[in-house]
Symmetry: C2
Subunit: 148 residues, 2 copies
């Protein structure tokens, strides 16, 4: 049962499946989208700010999106981001990490100018098994109102 | 000549190379990271909120990162994002679009707790040839202070 705007309320939470990240996946993403030494070369990474190979934050963000599509949120119309606030990577994603995504609805409001849609604000965390966050953000999602 | 914190001032701007996006690239990214109908299937996309195939916003973000690494900004230590504010996709990236990235330094300040680094705030736009934005954000970058 797809959820419409009217089905979403502050305090509701959804969880995704878990995903384990490999060195190979980190390097493959970074070679294409963020080819900096600390993302593509374990030896060079030792001399960097981070001191070790870490995933690009944009890789963490892309994986977070993938896990959002696998969460049981099931929004009518799909997951459509109008924008993100306060996107942060509190600790870097590293090879062997297993993460999942937790979504908490903050607010759900109808659009004044377009009654067929609304905006849902949600806090999205990507978390390791020990609960530390590799990504945090507030997502503003466009969700259709239930058809009359 | 790599730029240190002291070399960056409000008003400085940097531009990247241009990049043209294909349907194949949009679909390949989305199959892995954002497999929703409006990103992977041109026919299904016609019935979606967008009415056409568009790139995942996270693909646009990853391409923006790639173009940042190709801009002539040349930060000492690399491009290290502490976090992003107000990440938005004002218009969707679609097949055939040619985009580039423009970075404008807003502020550069030393860290009080860690004198060896500072934070540079920069407005980052990914722009089509006609000047319309496919992505906007404010990046908070960690930049090393010039060694004594």
């Amino acid at each position: 049962m797809a959820r419409y705007l009217e089905d979403l309320r502050a305090g509701q939470a959804f969880e995704s499946k878990r995903h384990t990240i490999t060195t190979e996946a980190i390097v493959a993403f970074a070679r294409e989208y963020d080819p900096q030494p600390f993302h593509v070369d374990a030896d060079a990474a030792k001399a960097s700010f981070f001191g070790k190979l870490i995933a690009s934050g944009w890789h963490t963000a892309a994986l977070t999106m993938r896990m959002l599509t696998e969460a049981e949120m099931d929004l009518a119309g799909g997951i459509i981001g109008a924008g993100m606030e306060e996107l942060r990577w509190p600790t870097p994603l590293v090879p062997g990490d297993t993460i999942h995504v937790r979504v908490e609805i903050i607010e759900s409001r109808a659009s004044k100018s377009r009654p067929e849609i609304g905006i849902v604000r949600a806090r999205v965390h990507a978390l390791r098994e020990d609960g530390t966050a590799v990504q945090e953000m507030i997502a503003n999602l466009i969700v259709p109102a239930r058809p009359a």
